[in-house]
Amino acid sequence: MVRIIDRRFDSKKKSTANRQRFMRRFKRQIRKAVADAIDGRSIRDLDSGEEISIPSKDLSEPSFQHGKEGIWEQVFTGNDRFASGDGIDRPMGGGGSGGGSGASNEGESEDDFVFQLSRDEFLDVFFDDLALPNLVRTELAKLTEYKTQRAGFTSDGVPTNINVVRSLRGAIGRRKALGAPLAARVQEIDEEIETLEQNASAHLDEIAALRDERSRLLIRIEAIPFIDRFDLRYNNRVRIPKPITQAVMFCVMDVSGSMDEQKKATGKRFFMLLYLFLRRNYEHIDVVFIRHHTIAKEVDEDEFFHSRESGGTVVSSALRLMTDIVRDRYPPGAWNVYGAQASDGDNWDNDSPICYDILDKELLALCRYFAYIEITTGEAQNLWRQYEGLTGHHPNFALQRIESLEDIYPVFRELFKKEPA
């Protein structure tokens, strides 16, 4: 007798381990591909995977093989024109594998090996670059969180949720309502019988009929169910997305000539990370992009990252614009305002004290949090020195000098601590 085994419900994803091995092995290439992908993505677009392609020569598995030269013999099917001894120009017309030489034995083609990275894998690589601690990773990678909340009562649900008081109250009401006409009639009959009994001998039949009716009515009142299915009330709980507040995030970046693509890419990761942090806490997030050289301008994301400018740098122009926009469109009473500024630290000398003043007196009071990163490998610049003075008396201000991507995360450490999930 045959044994038929149903394996369809066995452990799935047997290949997961091999897939992870693959990812591990080609980490370098995948990281590069992810870095390229990030450059091409919107900072809000972090919920999809990515198609990764790796040059196939990097993942070849070599073995001893023949080269193309030498003498090769191959047998083909469907001879329609050749006689023994014929010469044919190479490559043979239409003959798929070019006259039987190499094509078949040099196995791999030179196309790139392309595969799909899932959202989680994508974020993992992204976080890897930023050296995020594991706890933070899991928190950030989570999609919107929900919490359950009481929301009155419903007429259906699971038995554990039955609300006894409500249900019985409903039952009593129903019994009263259904029984009321009958009870009224009983009372009527009682009164009638009382009147008739004063002259009992003349109305014997009537009294008997009334008594009969009365006992039938009592039976009907008894027959009203004590509790019925539609009396049942259940505690109602609804799932609501936990963060229901809104936030606005300002990305402020210096786009003067000294900010090269590399620095902008670093800045972009900084903004992306902030966005991820905020998304964990807020349901709705607006993002405002402000770029500046000597004048500041509000732009869309594409222009923010991709258009080039040159010239001097006046940081205060951007801060002033941000202050105006907050006052105008995002009153701090309704919005949580976050500011993120990226710059290489170059600023026009006389401007830095002005920046200090704007932040100190106006902007920081409006913001929940303001983070500044200085992307530079050299000496601290004048803006940095001014900003350092702010940290003492403004707990909602953080600044960090960044040489490589791993330095970004510490900026958020404080922020993360202050807003536990």
Binding site: N18, V75, D86
Partner: protein, 516 residues
């Protein structure tokens, strides 16, 4: 049997399968197969999903296997192509084990399930059990247990020595997999219990052996060593991985065990690589014959037969050389045609057949089949049984591509004077000895720099491909000292093709000397 009884027990038809229906089909197929005297292992049918089918693809068709990135790569490639609809999955995978495991995919229709049972669970199964290559080189009763042992052992090594170390080693072993098989020597039978019991014993023993070998090294002190140093190995060795396992001086015992595992797996797949045409043809012949027999008995609905024949003929399709989708000779088509042809030669031979096949013309086809299935591989099967009639119907022609000539040259076609040559050419095309470079371990300079020398014997002036460099680097990693590859020139002299020097050894080697 009379028609009336048959009509009453017609097998279920329609697209949807149930376990009950599959059981009924299996019962009938098994009955007919037994009538044809097919000798098979017990059958175990397993129902799987398409995702599980892709998993199975990725681990070279085995139900368990050790973890390696290359299997992950395989999985990703399969998954992508499948999802884009560029390929369908195979309808079945069958495992050469005892009992014989046949995977059926849940997406298949009832007809396809029946086809697969006939094809895999009876066709391939009988071939696995009967063919001499499989009987010699594989241990169907132990393979699954051995793979479990291998996976656990390698996982242990990863924990102990790190994933990277194991991965490097596996990469190197995989590069040498094709030259890690015994072609002529019979390996001992696999047995899980013995493997485990002997494994630790072997570790210590092997290490001692190796040390013994190298202990003779410093014996340079005596001045009377004028005599020719004894050659090592005394004869060239074809199984390079085996040589590494036994003689590589610097491998740790666990590394030798892993080399051995890869070697065993390679050996297990060795027969499959040599019997594709025969095996697929055989299985196709039997699914065709078994199902037709059931139809003749009146058990199968017409709709079943239509679907079956449609599927059968699309698998058996052989495009011509100038069709855009020509991709070499379809092993299913060639194999199926050859087995059908043998049956024809047995049953109704022509004069030509009597001349070409005096032994089998007019013989009992079932006996001839049994003989042919048991005692041949692709190469010899074609050399022995490809008939002129078949060469004509396939319109075969052989083309020679000599890089010293300007034009390709048609060396033989399907005509009287070309039959023998054509048949030889086609047979050669399936000869692993021609398809794969002939490389053997030639010598070890164990009184000098301990370098290992391989020799390549070119066939038809074919050089080695570009990948040789990479493979030699892997070999050097395993051997631990310099490795060389020499090519034997047509005049008998040798030339150095590639050399890979190994400078300083890794940390673990130093550690070992410190311990001594």
């Amino acid at each position: 049997m009379s028609d009336t009884t048959l009509a009453s027990k017609k097998l279920p038809s329609g697209a949807e399968w149930t376990f009950e229906a599959i059981g009924q089909y299996h019962e009938e197929i098994a009955r007919v197969a037994a009538n044809y005297k097919l000798d098979t292992y017990p059958v175990q049918v397993e129902m799987i999903t398409s995702e599980q089918m892709m998993d199975a693809y990725a681990s070279v068709g085995m139900p368990v296997n050790y973890h390696h990135w290359s299997f992950g790569k395989q999985f990703l490639a399969t998954e992508k192509r499948y999802k884009r609809g560029q390929m369908g999955l195979a309808y079945e995978i069958v495992i050469n084990s005892d009992p014989c495991i046949a995977y059926l995919m849940e997406e298949n229709t009832l007809t396809m399930q029946a086809l697969v049972i006939a094809h895999a669970a009876y066709g391939h199964n009988a071939f696995f059990k009967g063919n001499y290559l499989f009987r010699t080189w594989t241990s169907p009763d132990a393979i699954v247990d051995y793979l479990i042992f291998a996976r656990n052992y390698i996982a242990q090594c990863e924990q102990r020595h790190g994933v990277d170390a194991v991965e490097e080693l596996l990469d190197s072993c995989h590069a040498l997999m094709n030259v890690g098989v015994d072609r002529y020597k019979r390996p001992p039978k696999l047995s899980l219990l013995k493997e485990q019991a002997r494994q630790s014993e072997r570790e210590t023993y092997l290490q001692r052996q190796v040390n013994e070998l190298w202990r003779t090294l410093p014996a340079r002190t005596t001045e009377d060593t004028k005599e020719e140093a004894p050659r090592f190995p005394p004869e060239p060795q074809e199984n390079i991985l085996y040589f590494i396992e036994k003689h590589a001086p610097l491998l740790e015992p666990w590394q030798r065990e892993i080399v051995r595992i890869v070697r065993k797996v390679a050996q297990y797949f060795f027969p499959q690589r040599q019997t594709q045409v025969m095996n697929e043809g055989w299985a196709s012949f039997w699914h065709y014959t078994l199902l037709n027999t059931l139809y003749d008995e009146g058990l199968l609905a017409d709709s079943f037969m239509m679907e079956f024949l449609h599927s059968h003929s699309s698998v058996m399709y052989q495009p011509n050389y100038n069709d855009p989708w020509y991709n070499g000779i379809n092993p299913y088509a060639l194999g199926f045609a050859m087995w059908q042809d043998i049956k024809r030669i047995c049953e109704s031979p022509t004069d030509e057949d009597r001349e070409w096949f005096p032994d089998i013309a007019g013989s009992n086809w079932q006996e001839t089949f049994d003989f042919a299935m048991r005692n041949f591989k692709d190469e010899s099967f074609i050399a022995q049984f490809l008939s002129p009639r078949l060469m004509r119907s396939f319109k075969l022609f052989a083309v020679q591509d000599d890089d010293k000539k300007n034009k390709l040259f048609v060396s033989a076609i399907h005509e009287e004077r070309g039959y023998r040559e054509l048949r030889e050419r086609l047979s050669n095309q399936y000869n692993l000895g021609c398809r794969e470079p002939n490389i053997q371990v030639w010598s070890v300079d164990f009184r000098g720099d301990r370098s290992l020398t391989l020799r390549y014997q070119p066939y038809n002036r074919r050089p080695l491909g570009k990948s040789v460099e990479e493979v030699m680097k892997h070999l050097a990693r395993l051997w631990g000292f310099a490795v060389r590859l020499e090519t034997v020139e047509p005049n008998g002299s040798t030339s150095l093709t590639y050399e890979c020097r190994k400078e300083k050894r890794r940390g673990d080697a130093k550690e070992k000397t410190a311990n001594n």
